[in-house]
């Protein structure tokens, strides 16, 4: 009986760990870019159009996912602290008053990774399980 409980506990822990690990996101840049680390606040300001560069002056162009993407919802919940519908309201204020447009969008992680790998001033985000040598992770969002 004790063994069964122990096995169940290990299984539960492993499941929790696995789901937690799967939810981690990596903020990525091109490996040729000198940037090695960014703060969550810098990422938020880039994606909300409040700046076009990091605090050290490095210019980066954010790339985002199309609406309906689960990772996009998670990114704005965790990094910006607001749900997607309020983000859309925010951008509608800026766009239709001529104060800025939201980041360009692509449909999935493979395209985001390929875009960042091919553009030296791009910044994006993907699931950490998709990391490889074509991009550099500069922040892990748990």
């Amino acid at each position: 009986m004790i063994k069964i409980k122990l096995l169940f506990a290990i299984f539960a822990l492993a499941t929790a760990f696995a789901s937690s690990a799967a939810a981690d996101m990596a903020i990525i840049v091109n490996p040729n870019n000198a940037v090695t680390k960014v703060s969550s606040d810098e990422v938020k300001r880039l994606y909300m159009g409040k700046t076009k560069s990091l605090d050290d002056g490095t210019r980066l162009i954010p790339i985002d996912y199309v609406d309906g993407s689960a990772i996009k919802q998670e990114f704005y919940d965790k990094v910006v602290g607001k749900p997607l519908d309020r983000i859309k309201v925010y951008w509608s204020r800026l766009t239709f008053s001529g104060h800025g447009r939201p980041p360009e969008t692509l449909s999935d992680s493979a395209r985001i990774k390929a875009w960042v790998a091919g553009n030296s001033d791009a910044i994006g985000y993907i699931d950490t399980t998709l990391l490889d040598g074509s991009v550099r992770a500069v922040l892990i969002v748990k």
């Binding site: 309201v89 509608s92 239709f96």
Partner: protein, 347 residues
């Protein structure tokens, strides 16, 4: 300039963007509104007791980065209350991104003062079906000096201080009022704002000389000073604005206008309540209470319902047969209920 000359110039510049082969990017917004009052009256020329879709509107925005430092941008607009959806250029300008801290704009620009003036027609951008009429209206006591965009220039000067983004936006120009010979000259003002993730604060002043031959306000200078605050503290939403409007040679026309809105996000649903009013020295005025709900159907679409209770005060200057509050006539009841339903889309 004719209604279509500037759009044509802009589209020529955009399409023929020279060696840069600049890409055109499109966005749009649409609001379909039905409104009805419970008594025989015409409210703001668009809401009747037999119901109306006249407050519906449509906008198309196009932008092109023709150079790393230069952007061309324009917005076309059509509304049911404007000559039966005749399309016009809402605004269109060239902007020069001189640095992270300084942006210059030249062309036909939207009046920037007040919290929602620059996106007044974009329903999805705010909680109400229309921003409070007592504050945002075309009538002379309005805190807006104009809805019409002005031809001129503006600078946007940014600075960051801790968590706050500080912006100064001075502007100047001239306003040609559509479908009349009137214009506003020597138009000048500045908006100062401070914002962070939770709070947006604004203070602004503007003035312009009214040139409207035959009108009682001809050759007078209209001045507006306003304060605004918009907060989103967690799920609690607040809008608060207050303005004083004066005219150089008419003490009677001095007007105070303001409103407060409180809302709360329950997931994708936001009920809200607004108290708004304007009060002119002449005795003209109006107060209203609006209760509404904004339901986000998806990130790009909202359904809105509103019930508004309006208490107009007669404008003695206009005579008994003329305007009462923002009504075009004197309503049969002293308090009028208006019901509105709208759907807002951005794409």
């Amino acid at each position: 300039m004719s209604r279509w000359r500037l759009p044509l110039l802009l589209s020529t510049a955009l399409v023929g963007g020279g060696a840069t082969a600049a890409e055109l990017k499109w966005d749009g917004f649409f609001t379909s509104t039905y409104s009805i009052t419970n008594t025989k009256s015409t409210y703001r020329d668009i809401v009747h007791d037999d119901g109306s879709f006249d407050d519906s509107r449509f906008g198309l925005h196009v932008v092109s980065d023709i150079h790393p430092l230069w952007r061309l941008e324009a917005q076309l607009f059509a509304a049911g209350y404007e000559d039966n959806y005749a399309t016009r250029l809402d605004w269109g300008f060239a902007s020069f991104h001189l640095s992270e801290r300084l942006n210059l704009k030249f062309g036909k620009l939207k009046y920037p003062n007040n919290l929602v003036s620059e996106y007044y027609d974009v329903g999805l951008a705010y909680p109400w079906i229309r921003p409070p009429h007592e504050y945002y209206s075309l009538e002379e006591p309005s805190a807006s000096i104009t809805y019409e965009s002005f031809s001129g220039a503006s600078a946007i000067i940014n600075r960051r201080s801790g968590d706050w983004d500080l912006v100064a936006q001075p502007f100047f120009g001239e306003v040609e009022l559509a479908e009349s010979d009137a214009n506003i000259s020597k138009f000048i003002g500045i908006k100062l704002s401070a914002s962070n993730d939770l709070t947006e604060l604004q203070a602004s002043v503007a003035q312009g000389r009214i040139n409207a031959e035959g009108h009682e306000l001809d050759d007078q200078t209209k001045r507006i000073a306003s304060l605004g605050m918009h907060t989103e503290w967690g799920s609690l939403v607040n809008y608060l604005e207050y303005a004083v409007t004066t005219f150089s040679d008419s003490e009677e026309a001095r007007t105070k206008a303001g409103y407060i809105t409180l809302g709360y996000h329950f997931g994708h649903t936001m009920p809200h309540i607004t108290y708004a009013g304007f009060d002119q020295e002449s005795g003209w005025g109006q107060q209203s209470v609006t209760v509404g709900v904004k339901q986000m159907l998806n990130p790009s679409t909202a359904l809105k319902l509103e019930m508004q209770r309006i208490t107009p005060q007669l404008n003695p200057e206009a005579g008994a047969e003329m305007a009462s509050g923002l009504f075009m006539d004197v309503p049969e009841k002293t308090r009028v209920n208006a019901f509105s339903i709208a759907i807002d889309v951005v794409f």
